[in-house]
């Protein structure tokens, strides 16, 4: 029904992440081939390669753009245990001569992690230039560049041990002054109930996979203020919706299914934000879609948080749209099928390509199959 446009990226291996910049006019891709590529939108709506370089010594898991206020800045994280911050510098060639690729310079290399760095995200602009990373051994690190003009200096402000492997994280983008800075973390730790090797690292034996951390201005610490008990399966991705002035937050979680969870702060003036004793949120699963056969991988919101795109094991990208009053329904299924033609279908979720029954596929993003080879310092 709709012709999809294809950009040949020429990565030598699987593309792990695609990230748009703030305006949606530049795109960064990263891959298992250790390369990061930058794509610019040209006047005709096509994507043109503007830079490509070997960024890491291992698979590059994620790439993310900083707000343009801080310049043309991206952060990458990799299996090689590092996260890096890259800045674009102008054309080194004299303008007017042949137009070369633009150059990106590594401004800083964050080497604190001892294991694969699984996700990296810049904080919301109004908090300054913040960067958070999470690693396979379950440590969250929050860095800050105190001087936005000196991108070589990143101070490790907070180091939060979570104890379980963390695969993904998301900043709450809310601009509201009444919402303290908030991060959601997703764990892909296999459940202890499964017949996998007995794993008592999670300590308390609970299978909680999504954790909410909030920054308290009073204590100047990040504290865990909630665990979403509704998610008990390994989480592959999660994303806060752009808030746009809502009084509650919407969190999309890619796990066995795609879930949209509404997190509503409980307004209670008598309880100070720092006292984490009482529940701070009322969380509710607004909707859970299991259309992605067995496992959903990625979720991404549109700019208003009214539509969600998800991808999963069924080779499809599915679009979900908010109807009036927070009802969600499928509006499109975009099928990845090689050589079979029909890519877009604007209709409903009537037909399925695969999956006669629920699959049991499971992706270990960060878990190591051979701990003996784990790279240590």
């Amino acid at each position: 029904m709709f012709e999809t446009q294809t950009v040949v990226v020429d990565h030598k291996d699987l593309i792990h992440d695609v990230a748009y910049d703030f305006y949606g006019e530049r795109m960064a891709t990263c891959s298992s081939d250790h390369y990061v590529k930058i794509w610019d939108l040209d006047e005709n709506g096509g994507w043109r390669l503007s830079a490509s370089w070997k960024a890491h010594h291992g698979s590059v898991w994620k790439v993310t753009w900083a707000h343009p206020e801080f310049g043309q800045l991206i952060a990458t994280c990799s299996f090689d245990r590092t996260a890096a911050i890259w800045e674009e510098v102008g054309d080194t060639t004299v303008p007017g001569t042949e137009r070369g690729l633009r150059q990106w310079v590594k401004r800083s290399n964050l080497v604190d992690s001892r294991t694969s760095v699984t996700d990296v995200k810049f904080g919301p602009k109004h908090l300054g230039l913040l960067l958070v990373t999470c690693s396979a051994d379950g440590i969250i690190r929050i860095y800050e560049a105190p001087d936005v003009m000196n991108l070589a200096q990143w101070i490790l402000q907070h180091e939060i041990p979570i104890k379980v492997s963390i695969s993904c994280l998301s900043w709450n983008p809310s601009l509201s002054r009444v919402h303290p800075p908030m991060i959601a973390l997703g764990s892909d730790e296999p459940n202890t109930l499964s017949n996998m090797s007995v794993n008592d690292r999670s300590g308390n034996g609970s299978n909680d996979k999504v954790f909410i951390y909030e920054y308290s201005e009073a204590s100047r610490r990040w504290t865990r203020t909630d665990c979403l008990v509704s998610v008990q399966e390994p989480v592959n991705d999660l994303a806060f919706a752009p808030n746009l002035g809502r009084s509650f937050h919407l969190l999309a979680v890619a796990t066995k299914d795609v879930r949209i969870i509404k997190i509503e702060p409980i307004i209670d003036s008598t309880v100070a934000p720092s006292s984490g004793g009482t529940a701070r949120f009322r969380s509710e699963v607004v909707v859970a879609f299991d259309d992605h056969a067995s496992c959903a991988w990625r979720v991404s919101w549109n700019v208003t948080g009214t539509m969600l795109a998800s991808s999963g094991d069924d080779c499809c990208v599915r679009l979900w749209k908010m109807q009036y009053l927070n009802q969600w329904k499928s509006v499109a299924v975009l099928r990845n099928e090689r050589g079979e033609g029909g890519n877009g279908s604007g209709g409903g979720a009537g037909e399925m390509a695969v999956a006669p029954r629920a699959h049991t596929a499971y992706l270990k993003m960060a878990a190591m199959a051979n701990p003996g080879h784990m790279p240590w310092h």
Binding site: F2, E3, T6, V9, K12, D13, L14, H16, V18, Y20, D21, G24, M27, T29, H34, W47, H57, G58, G71, D80, E88, V89, G90, M149, L175, S176, R177, N243, L244, G245, R246, S294, W297, V299, S300, N302, V303, T304, T306, A309, D313, C315, L319, M322, Y324, A332, N336, R338, N343, G346, V354, T360, A361, L363, M365, M368, A369, N370, M374, P375
Partner: protein, 789 residues
């Protein structure tokens, strides 16, 4: 070792739509799309979109192993079959003769004629469990020997010296990596091993599995991916080997010198179906396509989907990966009718930014929003005309006008009125100044006597039902009948007939009560409900029961409220308005702005509206246009404004952003100060304010010289000179005056600067700062998109 039930599949390496399944029989299949073979007689469905038809089949008794020939140009797959007797036969399964006439030949260990002597023999007096070619350019053969060795034979040296040996019990099923000639994989009981032939003593990796492995294969289309099948498993396991290739470079970095660069494996199970699997085969060229076979013979064509990553950008929309990146055309988003698309389109049309509020109504292209802007315009005009005085809010709503909160603030006058057609009926209507204003807000501003004006308008809009109902609410039954009889819809005339029969008889009342709810037009229903109510009132002491009219939810809110303003007593009216307001605020129904106006309740209502629809644009624009400064200070409103600014920024709609900020700054209390000024580097006071450089006309009208003539080269406060332009070396402030070319500009990194035009010209030809010793690349710090070549 192989039972008769053992089934395995082999894709033909050169025919992309054919495969062989072998077990007790060997069968050649051809794959087609289901829709193409539907008419054919028999096929095996192998996936939801494809099926396989049998081309030929033959018995495979005694066959222990098979492989397909990959000589190009063959019309049909050529098979080599290894028999238990030690004989190897070449078989052509197709009907076409094969050009090389290889089919039918057989090779045997014993009594070999000359031309069939083996080229080389190796591993004499040993048992080979499995042989395979490597993908290296040299002719290398790898074999699992004696259940304990992996041997690599280099066929360039036939003297059996070029043999590498690894001793391991995990030696079975050895196969070479198609992307890396040095890499091999092998399996043992419960272990999958990966070897590097350059360091053949130890496996590079041993991956313990839970169950014995029955088959392993490298993926021919993706690097470093091995697929393994465990015995009696329903799933295939994919082992994605992550190597850190550049050990040398990693070693150079002192921080990483101690790193052991061991590979790590990401494992994943995929289930092609619910069957137990006995064999599988990768498609030679199609991305990650696997054919799996179950012991019962069921075939499953499955494409292992990669981890598809998706991302959604502000302008360009959705992108996802499918080997390449995929995007969708603009029309796709237009068809989704999502608020993000709608808002962007509205932002491009100056929606909400037009000078007159009502002009925005047309731009919205939405009934609800249109009504909202019209109401705001009406409310504003009523305040400006002085009809509504002393309003706390710039756009009061009905609830404020009626002062419903302060009970007893006013008392309405109840006027008994005669119903012209039923002279013995007296109906009490209520009047007060407040009610008049409320009805003006409801767009019922014509007044009791001049209802004709309103009726004409409604009739002109084709709202016959509404016109008739409004006439009846004004007790002009005769007019209502005239309107109905003028209506083009014959149904209306039938209604007129029913209305004309209005009487106090029970028959009429009961018939009307049963018939009215089935009328499609809510106004006609209300009309009957109203007439029934007034004729039902047995005595003058009883108040008629208007609930059916008041609760007619399909009627426009303003008509219901105006009706209430006429017929409800003070207390009931206040109660009704309160209830309606709460209901609308709770539901976030935009029509409720009529009741709340731009007040704290209006903020709550817009907040709910925003949460249900995501339309932050309207909320922020209404706030910017109609809210008092106090209301804007509400944290919710500030969040709307910030969110909308960020949204417009991300669309690069600077014009809309700028006008929005102008409207915000234009709210009365914000007129106080300019927001940007240039401070002197020495004393910190503003350079421009005292000098009148940028706004001479207002404050120093007598001087009023053209700004260019004012020579200000020093700070008016401390008399220290102003900085010089790095290009023209003149003190800033001397040239250009308030015009843009003369503006101060500077680089936030190196702090050098100059006149705006001079710098623009400079950076057209240079990338570095104009100050001679400074190598700051100022222009690349924040390159304006248009400045890039």
């Amino acid at each position: 070792m192989m039972s008769a039930a053992k089934l395995d599949a082999i894709w033909s390496p050169i025919h992309y739509n054919r495969f062989i399944v072998w077990g007790s029989d060997i069968t050649l299949y051809e794959v087609s799309q289901l829709k193409d073979i539907e008419r054919k007689s028999s096929y095996v469905k192998i996936s939801n979109i494809s099926g396989a038809t049998v081309l030929t089949s033959q018995s495979a008794v005694g066959v222990r192993c098979a492989d397909a020939c990959c000589i190009p140009g063959q019309q049909d797959p050529l098979l080599a079959l290894g028999h238990a007797s030690g004989r190897v036969a070449l078989v052509n399964l197709g009907q076409n003769p094969d050009p090389l006439s290889l089919a039918g030949r057989a090779f045997d260990n014993s009594s070999a004629p000359d031309q069939q002597r083996p080229l080389a023999e190796m591993g004499l007096s040993e048992t080979a469990q499995n042989v395979n070619w490597t993908y290296s350019s040299a002719r290398m053969l790898i074999a699992s020997m004696n259940s304990k060795h992996i041997k690599i034979f280099d066929l360039r040296d036939l003297s059996n010296k070029g043999v590498s040996v690894a001793t391991t019990k995990y030696c079975y099923g050895v196969c070479g990596d198609p992307f890396n000639e040095w890499q091999l994989a092998s399996r043992g009981d419960n272990v999958l091993c990966v070897w590097d032939t350059r360091a053949f003593e130890r496996p590079l990796l041993s991956l313990p599995q839970h169950k014995p492995l029955s088959k392993i294969l490298w993926c021919p289309t993706r690097r470093n991916l091995i697929c393994s099948l465990q015995r009696d498993a329903t799933s295939l396991r994919l082992h994605d080997i992550q190597l850190i290739h550049n050990t040398q470079i990693a070693g150079q970095n002192p921080n990483e010198s101690e790193v052991s660069n061991g590979p790590i494996v990401l494992e994943r199970d995929v289930c092609p179906g619910s069957h137990v699997l006995s064999g599988f085969s990768w498609h030679p060229t199609h991305q990650a396509r696997v054919l799996a076979v179950s012991p019962s013979g069921a075939l499953l064509d499955y494409t292992v989907s990669e981890r598809v990553t998706v991302s959604w950008g502000a302008t360009a929309g959705l992108v996802w990966t499918d080997g390449a990146l995929k995007t969708l055309p603009e029309t796709f988003y237009a068809n989704l009718h999502d608020i993000s698309y709608t808002m962007k389109r509205r932002a491009q049309t100056e929606y909400g930014l037009k000078h007159d509020l009502w002009q925005n109504a047309d731009l919205a292209n939405d009934e609800q929003l249109s009504a909202l802007w019209h109401f705001l315009a009406l409310s504003k005009s009523l305040v400006e005309d002085g009809c509504i005085k002393n309003s706390t809010w710039r756009h009061p709503g009905v609830r404020w006008v009626l002062r419903a909160d302060t009970a007893g603030g006013y008392r309405s006058e109840g006027v008994p009125s005669l119903l012209p057609d039923l002279p013995n009926r007296r109906i009490t209507i209520y009047r007060s100044a407040e009610r008049t204003r409320a009805m003006q807000l409801c767009n019922w501003g014509w007044g009791w006597e001049n209802v004709g004006a309103g009726l004409e308008r409604a009739e002109a809009d084709g709202q016959w039902g509404r016109a008739a109902a409004v006439a009846a609410f004004h007790l002009r039954l005769r007019t209502a009948l005239d309107i109905l009889s003028r209506a083009p819809d014959p149904q209306m005339r039938m209604v007129a007939l029913a209305v004309a029969g209005l009487s106090e008889e029970r028959v009429w009342r009961e018939t009307a009560a049963t018939a009215a709810p089935s009328l499609p037009d809510p106004y006609l229903r209300a009309l009957f409900a109203f007439l029934s109510a007034i004729v039902a009132t047995a005595s003058h002491h009883h108040q008629p029961d208007y609930d059916a009219v008041l609760n007619e939810k399909e009627m426009r809110l303003e008509d219901r409220v105006a009706f209430a303003c006429i017929f409800l007593g003070d207390e009931r009216l206040a109660e009704y308005v309160r209830r309606l307001t709460d209901d609308h605020v709770h539901r976030g129904a935009l029509a409720g702005v009529l009741l709340t106006g731009s007040s704290p309740e209006g903020v709550s209502l817009l907040q709910r509206w925003l949460e249900t629809t995501g339309d932050v644009q309207t909320a922020a624009l209404v706030a910017a246009r109609t809210f008092t400064p106090d209301l804007i200070k509400d944290s919710r409103v500030l969040t709307w404004i910030d969110s909308y600014r960020s949204l417009v920024d991300s669309w690069r709609l600077w014009w809309a952003r700028c006008s929005f900020d102008t409207w915000l700054a234009g709210t009365p209390a914000n007129h106080d100060a300019r927001q940007v000024c240039i401070a002197c580097g020495y004393c910190g006071k503003t350079v421009a304010a005292a000098s009148g450089l940028t706004r001479p006309a207002r404050h120093l009208p007598r001087l009023a010289p053209p700004a260019a003539k004012m020579k200000i080269s020093a700070c008016p406060h401390c008399r220290k000179p102003l900085p010089r332009c790095a290009v023209c070396a003149l003190h800033m402030g001397t040239a250009g005056g308030g015009e843009f070319p003369g503006w101060f500009t500077w680089c936030v990194a190196c702090r050098h600067g100059g006149h705006a035009t001079h710098l623009l010209n400079w950076f057209r030809e240079h990338t570095e700062c104009p100050v001679s010793s400074c190598s700051c690349r100022c222009i690349s710090m924040d390159p304006p998109p248009s400045a890039q070549p």
